[in-house]
């Protein structure tokens, strides 16, 4: 409190050469905005930039003490609300605290061989650099982009083999790709999902493909005698799975009458 009052006597900052001695009323972000903060900011530099820009200040003229106070207040609020803070925010808090404490110390006689970086200058350099990237990201996004702002104009080609011959794929490549995918998925997912045997999934696709051609199928359309018992089981499982996933429906007019399989879209 007292620190803030002392701060109040001194010019907080210079705005276009004019000393600013009073804090603008809207300096704090309202608490209800905190819920979006972690999504809204791309890290501590982004948050600092926001705080600085709210005061319409040049980055090079920032009042570290004031910015530190606001930043800390922000972090404290976030922590109080039990947001899980990325470590980067805390590192920045420590850095700001260090700069602030240095500013309070009397300035040591400048020595030529003092190679140590002035942390305030370093912070300003990083802020300036980050702001440039932020702006260039915005201007990059503003450029007309393929498929979003303009389309490639294409016409159907004559029906000759005029396309570059498509790449050949070896079966082993496909298996390796899938294996890698699974290995990666295992790393990111805690639970293992049981999948239907492939023959069932193939049969599911076949039933769906048939349903594209015809609105409804009888069970006889799906079961094939020459596949034997195993084929019937596979077909049956496929239909059950499709019904479970809501991809088709079983319809029967009356008990004992023919059971139809219908695509859900047409049902």
């Amino acid at each position: 409190m007292s620190a803030q009052q002392v701060q109040g006597e001194l010019p907080l900052a210079l705005v276009d050469g004019e000393p600013l001695t009073k804090l603008p009323e809207d300096l704090y972000i309202p608490p209800d905005a905190l819920e979006v903060i972690l999504d809204a900011f791309e890290g501590p530099l982004d948050l600092l930039l926001y705080l600085i820009r709210r005061q319409n200040l040049d980055i090079v003229r920032i009042d570290v003490a004031e910015i530190t106070r606001q930043y800390m207040g922000y972090i404290a609020l976030l922590e109080a609300m039990r947001f899980e803070l990325a470590a980067e925010y805390l590192v920045m808090a420590a850095m700001l605290a260090e700069i602030k404490s240095r500013a309070l110390l009397p300035k040591a006689p400048s020595s030529e061989d003092d190679e140590e970086l002035d942390p305030r200058a370093e912070l300003i350099r990083r802020l300036l650099e980050y702001e440039k990237i932020k702006q260039s990201a915005e201007s990059l996004d503003a450029l007309p982009r393929i498929d979003r702002d303009f389309q490639v104009a294409q016409a159907a080609s004559p029906d000759i083999d005029c396309h570059v011959s498509p790449p050949a794929v070896d079966l082993s490549e496909l298996v390796v790709a899938f294996g890698e995918l699974l290995a990666r998925a295992q790393l990111s997912s805690a639970h293992q999902i049981e999948w239907e045997p492939l023959s069932t999934r193939q049969r599911m696709s076949e039933v769906l493909m048939k349903l594209k051609e015809r609105a409804e199928l009888t069970l006889a359309d799906v079961f094939s005698v020459d596949e034997g018992r195993a084929g019937v089981v596979v077909s049956f499982l496929a239909i059950l799975e499709l019904v479970r996933e809501g991809l088709c429906a079983l319809v029967q007019a009356a008990p004992g009458s023919v059971i139809y399989i219908r695509g859900v879209a047409d049902a």
Partner: protein
Amino acid sequence: MPEPDRIQILEAALFSAREPMSIYRMRQLFGDAKPPSEGMLREALDRLAELYADRAVQLVEVAGGFRFQVSETFAPYLAHLNDDKPGRYSRATLETLAMIAYRQPVTRGEIESVRGVAVNTQIIRTLEERGWITVVGYKEVPGRPALYATTTQFLDDFGLKTLDDLPAAEGLISAPTEDLLDQLDSSNE
């Protein structure tokens, strides 16, 4: 550029479309306000076809609607571009194909959730054009996403009789991973 006229709007749409465009779709171009009638559209299409009379692309009507197509005359020239060596499919394309082969019928969202990255439309298009995958239905969830499955041509091209002939990737992969974990565990002790 002044406000685009009806002919130009149709021209833009026809050149961006990957498939023939029906009159019904063309009417959608103009929003809900007051879409032009079929007669007005056909008139504009006639006019557009005239504009391209001397060009290398022609506006034609086919079964699914209208499209621009490059005249047959140019086939021999285009064939010269053919000599290129075939490229390779990206890892993303192979993984997408693998997901569809092993997990069909599957939506794009499901592929994305396993892969952890968005699936580019171009990848789906490439695989469709290659004749390896097709849309077999739509899932009854919000947005009604398309369900993809592999085709007979996929089986043929990979020398498979049924999907069951696909090597069991689960078995192949989990084993080495287990081994690694075992090794890791024992080295920790």
